[in-house]
């Protein structure tokens, strides 16, 4: 049996761990609130943007050509996979899940004989992917300096993506991020950024209104599509931030609870062995007295 001093030390160490996890949980709870508000506040812009885009796109449906960001390059040979993860660990299965989904996709693409390149955002995903696909990783965006994600943080990434697209470095770009559903559930979602994936639904209800375009449709599309890439990316990153905090909160809550259980167990053992020591001492004294 472990001696009393060891037990005392272990109780002390688990208690301090519990304090840390508890503090982390509370910090991420407040950060989650902020991240969630930010994600919600960004929604109107993205939705309007999508509505306008899909109404223009549906009006241009019959035409051939159109901007490459919408129509694609006509090939899907070169695939770009963007993996957005967090900068910090200790957030449960958050990073693992995203990386797992991305890896499955990369593997499937390679098996199909496609050329795959990878861009990572956030170092947690980058370090895992580096083990297997270092030769395919072309760029990494470090977000560790970003406290509250602003649109300006997403813009450089978006403009780099467009630059690469125009240079013909890839044909299709898919972004992997975790969609925030609620604190307990985050869903890893692949989102096709380029060419723009536009739902037909939005166009249908706006299609009734017959817009005048100023300047013409093509120019508006050319202005809008690059912007749309930025907006979608920004939105995904915001969702990701909220998911990260949600995931961390759940993980830390579990850790706190586990630490509590462990402390209870240790304390029981500690008390038992303390009593056993006392009983032992008593027996020794009594039997010593009897022997006299």
């Amino acid at each position: 049996m472990a001696n009393l001093k060891d037990l005392r030390n272990r109780i002390a160490s688990v208690t301090s761990t519990q304090k840390i996890t508890k503090a982390m949980k509370m910090v991420s709870a407040s950060k989650l609130k902020r991240a969630q508000d930010a994600a919600e506040a960004a929604r109107p812009y993205a939705e309007r943007m999508e509505n306008v885009l899909s109404s223009i796109a549906s009006s241009m449906k019959g035409q051939t050509g159109g901007p490459a960001l919408l129509a694609g390059t006509g090939s899907d040979q070169k695939q770009l996979v963007i993996v957005a993860t967090s900068e910090r660990g200790l957030c449960g299965g958050f990073n693992t899940n995203i990386v797992k989904a991305a890896k499955a996709k990369i593997k499937a693409l390679i098996e199909d004989g496609k050329e795959v390149t990878i861009i990572t955002i956030g170092k947690k995903g980058a370090s895992v992917l580096k083990r297997e696909y270092e030769d395919k990783m072309v760029q990494h965006f470090d977000m560790s300096h970003v406290k509250n994600l602003a649109f300006d943080d997403a813009l450089p990434i978006a403009s780099r993506l467009i630059e690469m697209y125009e240079a013909g470095d890839y044909d299709v770009c898919t972004l992997f991020f975790a969609k925030f559903i609620n604190v307990l559930t985050q869903e890893v979602t692949p989102l096709q950024l380029i060419p723009a994936s536009i739902s037909d639904e939005g166009g249908a209800d706006l299609g009734i209104a017959c817009y005048e375009y100023e300047p013409d449709e093509n120019e508006i599309l050319e202005d809008l599509l690059p912007r749309n890439v930025g907006v979608q990316l920004f939105r995904a990153l915001l969702e990701n931030a909220a998911s990260e905090q949600g995931s961390r909160m759940t993980a830390m809550d579990n850790a706190t609870r586990n630490a509590g259980e462990m402390i209870d167990d240790l304390r029981t053992t500690y008390n038992r062995s303390r009593q056993a020591v006392i009983t032992n001492e008593l027996i020794e004294i009594i039997s010593g007295a009897e022997a006299l």
Partner: protein, 136 residues
């Protein structure tokens, strides 16, 4: 028919303004246009400029940078990358940024970096230009 125009100003980060107003003057790429209630549906891109919101004899001016405006039967929606009330704009900040960016253009090593720096510089320069015009 509504006699007020429903106006929404949205930036990527949040919904900045949502109100019923009399008229909004929008700086479109092909010229300013005023939007009154029951305006015909229009989609237009914006240039760097000033939105004027008129309501009940009062007007409010906001600086917008990049974006587009959509008018439909529900009202006017402006999606702007950046929008600030004109009296809250940090002019000195932009001036400093312009200086910085001008240096960047001079320091740029290759053409690509230079082009990027020039683009950023021109953007800030156009903001300052608008501010000058407003102040005059």
């Amino acid at each position: 028919m509504a006699d007020k125009l429903h106006f929404e100003l949205v930036s990527p980060a949040k919904l900045l303004k949502s109100a019923d107003v009399d008229m909004v003057v929008v700086p479109g790429t092909e010229g300013d246009f005023g939007v009154l209630p029951a305006h015909a549906p229009v989609v237009s891109t914006l240039r760097t400029g000033v939105i004027e919101v008129h309501d009940g004899g009062e007007s409010e001016k906001l600086l917008v940078v990049g974006g587009f405006a959509e008018v439909n039967s529900a009202g006017l929606t402006i999606l702007a990358e950046l929008a600030t009330p004109i009296n809250e704009v940090d002019k000195a900040g932009y001036e400093a940024e312009l200086k910085n960016l001008t240096e960047d253009v001079q320091d740029a090593k290759d053409d690509e970096a230079k082009a990027r720096a020039e683009k950023a510089r021109d953007k800030v320069a156009s903001i300052l230009e608008v501010l000058e015009r407003e102040a005059a």
